[in-house]
């Protein structure tokens, strides 16, 4: 009996040892994985993000307790390991994508709208509605580095800040919604930002974008038909107005959700922009900045994003047309396909080379993945009221 029992014990120990080893190895594998095919989806009502990978299209981790994530957006550290999530409640959260955990969270303001990471990856900037302005943090520790209150006018009022992007030269560019101004903040000396202000750029700039080469900053105007343009190679040239009066004096249609300009599509020398109060995508030629065409679409465009190769532009819409996504063929500027993913398509994100697009479909509680060549839906992932989807390829792109 003893002889038969004796070998069992070492076996038990061995299996325990094997178990420990397996866990240890699994840990090592997770830690040595790359992050280039990772991304996260915001589950805004739950205050949570899901981390997923786009190669096998599977969910890896959930990170919760991130506060009010309505309108949350994300930038990535330049090594692609960390995500910085900007929440509505002023929360700035640093997430380790590999470990799937929250590294640090600070509540830096009362009401925030977005953020950016500096050219050198060392600074995080957050744009705030309350108190209106931009705050700068150390990307490593999230310690405060600088505060830029958006004070304007004779009454020294504070403006909500929108359209914050990074720009070459360790700069950030942003727009003041209430003031109608564009500011450039130079963080070459991080503690002492140099501010250049442009006033009277137009009424109610609601979002901004920088072209992928980092040269032009454009602010969309809600209060006027037009776009404010700043050439960052010639900042002394001032802000110029383009697409002035594109609504041609017609009564604008109601806008049930503001367009977002972070993903303004740049395809070759063309930019595809959402019209405001018109169910159209405007096509603008770079350099001349003239309108060269319009594409009639199903509703008020919200995101107008180019596939990374620039051959297709995907458009989603404001309520009540947010169950539809349209694909524009760039060469012909015609609608190539109209998809009906389900109610409330809030965001679209391409894989780095564009063979897949990930859509968040809020009211269906899922993320849908499409093949952008065949338009076939190739995967669904459950997600609780998903909104923004962000892939780590953004880590290496100016303005994202």
């Amino acid at each position: 009996m003893v002889e038969t029992r004796f070998p069992k014990r070492p076996t038990k120990h061995l299996s325990l040892l094997a178990l420990f080893l397996a866990f240890g190895l699994a840990g090592c594998q997770a830690a040595s994985r790359g992050t280039g095919d990772l991304g996260l989806v915001v589950e805004r009502a739950a205050g949570r993000v899901q981390i997923f990978e786009t190669t096998g299209r599977s969910a890896l981790h959930q990170v919760a307790a991130l506060g009010d994530l309505s309108h949350a957006s994300t930038v990535f550290s330049r090594d692609g390991r960390y995500a910085y999530v900007f929440g509505r409640d002023g929360g700035l959260s640093k997430i380790d994508l590999l470990a799937g955990r929250l590294v640090k969270r600070v509540v830096q303001a009362g009401n925030s709208i977005g953020g950016a990471i500096s050219q050198d990856g060392k600074l995080i900037a957050v744009s705030n509605y309350e108190p209106g302005g931009v705050r700068i943090f150390d990307a490593e520790t999230l310690a405060p580095v600088a505060d830029i209150p958006a004070i304007y006018g004779a009454n020294k009022a504070r403006s909500k800040v929108v359209g914050l992007v990074d720009a070459p030269g360790q700069r950030f560019v942003f727009s003041l919604y209430d003031a109608g101004e564009i500011w450039i903040a130079d963080l070459s000396s991080p503690g002492e930002p140099g501010i250049q202000k442009y006033q009277d750029i137009g009424r109610q700039p609601y979002d901004g974008l920088i072209t992928p080469d980092g040269r032009y900053y454009l602010a969309g105007l809600f209060g006027e038909d037009g776009i404010a343009l700043l050439d960052l190679w010639r900042p002394e040239g001032g802000v110029q107005r383009i697409l002035d009066g594109y609504g041609r004096g017609e009564e604008p249609l109601p806008v049930y959700k503001m367009p977002h300009l972070e993903g303004w599509a740049s395809a070759g020398n063309l930019l595809f922009l959402p019209a405001v109060g018109r169910h159209e995508v405007l096509v603008v030629e770079r350099e001349s900045w003239r309108e060269v065409g319009r594409v009639a679409v199903r509703g008020q465009p919200v995101f107008v994003v180019a596939r990374p190769d620039g051959r297709q532009v995907w458009v989603n819409f404001a309520h009540p047309n947010n169950d539809v996504v349209q694909v524009v063929d760039v060469a012909s500027r015609r609608i190539l396909r109209t998809l009906r993913p389900g109610k409330a398509v809030l965001h679209m994100e391409f894989t780095p080379r564009g063979e897949q697009v990930w859509l968040s479909v809020r009211d269906e509680d899922r993320v849908e993945v499409y093949d952008t060549g065949s338009f076939v839906r190739i995967a669904d992932l459950p997600a609780d009221k998903p909104s923004g989807i962000f892939l780590t390829a953004r880590a290496n792109r100016i303005g994202l």
């Binding site: 009010d68 509505r88 009401n111 509605y129 609601y206 809600f222």
Partner: protein, 105 residues
């Protein structure tokens, strides 16, 4: 018990006034609250504390008459991004939403 319910109901109508008579159905109330959080929340914040649009919390609405707020929901506010929702929310529903907002959700 069954007898007293209609009496209580009648009493509530008396104190709340005629507008309370047109309560949306329970299902519609659910839809309206979902819309409020998810779609109004795009500008006003999911917790209604404000965003590009102003706060819709009780303290922020206290000085605005209910009738004026109903008009804003139905017709929007020209010169601001507030859009008119009258195409899919009727006056009674807007009135119900305003009452809910003023008392706090």
């Amino acid at each position: 018990m069954a007898k007293s319910l209609p009496i209580v109901g009648a009493f509530l109508v008396l104190i709340a006034g005629p507008a309370a008579m047109a309560e949306p159905t329970a299902e519609r109330q659910g839809e309206l609250l979902y819309r409020l959080r998810q779609d109004c929340g795009s500008c006003h914040g999911m917790t209604l504390k404000g965003g590009l649009g102003p706060s819709l919390l009780p303290a922020a609405l206290a000085d605005s008459p209910a009738e004026a707020l109903v008009e804003v929901i139905l017709d929007g506010r020209p010169g601001t991004p507030m859009a008119p929702w009258g195409f899919e929310i009727d006056r009674d529903e807007a009135g119900w939403l305003v009452r809910r907002l003023k008392e706090g959700l």
